[in-house]
Symmetry: C2
Subunit: 218 residues, 2 copies
């Protein structure tokens, strides 16, 4: 048995299933509107029923899944109104988190962000949608971690879980080439230690993405 297997064996099955399913939703592998069945997951992930159930309830609580009245669970379809709400919340959260992250940035954090942004650019050039979505998320997730504000980070990640599936749809239509971001502005501001400018760049970056989703839903 390898070391990796030993470490993973320490994680409960419900935790493993949760993470797996979460990533699949986050990167749009399960489309908005699509049903998620317990039995389907037990087969697909080779897990028992109870752990699968627990993972589904957890993701439902986070808004990543929606419990229909009739025992059905689906990946929710976002409405234009939903996006407005998400924008309101993110405007506040993304600004605050970027501000705090800048004040606490360590060299290895900046190095990670620069490196991730590079990988992101490469994914855009290659047109690799999956890699684009993943690196983009890792970039912002790192900022959340840096902020040393677990509750705010939880809220921000929870929102990501809500619009993630739609983002995939948007990017699939628009194409990775046409996805502008403000990461360069953000990084230069953060390197300069300018928390306010970093916050502003992060909010603008967020708004660009949300705008794309908004256009699609209209």
């Amino acid at each position: 048995m390898t070391v990796v297997e030993t470490v993973e064996a320490r994680l409960p099955a419900h935790e493993v299933v949760y993470r797996e399913l979460r990533e699949q939703i986050l990167f749009g592998e399960i489309a908005p509107g699509q049903a998620v069945t317990i039995q389907g997951l037990t087969e697909r992930l080779g897990a028992g029923m109870t752990p699968v159930r627990e993972a589904i309830r957890r993701l439902t609580a986070e808004g990543a899944l929606k419990f229909q009245g009739n025992r059905r669970v689906i990946v929710p379809l976002l409405s234009a109104k939903n996006i407005e709400e998400i924008i309101v919340a993110r405007k506040c959260l993304e600004g605050e988190l970027a501000r705090r992250a800048t004040e606490r940035a360590k060299p290895e954090d900046l190095q990670f962000l620069v490196q991730t942004d590079k990988l992101l650019d490469q994914a855009i050039v290659k047109g690799d949608l999956q890699a684009y979505l993943e690196h983009n998320f890792r970039f912002h997730e790192r900022i959340y971690d840096m902020a040393d504000a677990p509750i705010l980070a939880d809220l921000a990640e929870g929102l990501w879980l809500r619009f993630g599936p739609s983002l995939r749809v948007v990017c699939g239509r628009v194409g990775t080439q046409n996805l502008p971001d403000k990461h360069k502005d953000l990084l230069s501001a953060m390197q300069a230690g300018d928390a306010e400018r970093t916050a502003q760049a992060n909010v603008e970056d967020m708004m660009q993405g949300m705008e794309q989703v908004r256009i699609m839903l209209a």
Copy 2:
């Protein structure tokens, strides 16, 4: 079998357990730091293991419970830093929700709020902590519902779940007599249709409560 029992029987056991446990946490019946065991709940609520498990995962995802590394689940203890984070998020959310609620207020909503505030005052006079906490929550919950913004309402309720247990501790120490609120200001502004003033009153009300918790934690 009564009608009520028939209707409740339609709700899945995991949903019933979830609601029950959620209320108990919300109104501080389970103290911060206290452990929540699966077997304890199966006995106390007369439910099976799987539904209890699902309810716990759901509440863990909402931040109402915390999963310790060693398989233990507790009601989290708030730190002073946590409160700061909650304040940042609530400043944004409570303002927006009150604004939207005012714009959409129907006569029966206002009637409910006035009535609930009356019950709240009575609870204060009687020194009935449990009733105070419950009516206070129902008051604000109604505002969330009125706002017609399910995602923002989810976020606001989720935060309530985080500070609820601490609020109980605070009120237990301070006594219900010494708990000022801004509900009268809020109601008069809302009745006048002044969304901005309602928002301001709601944020002030929130801050008064958070301030109490902050003082206790210092």
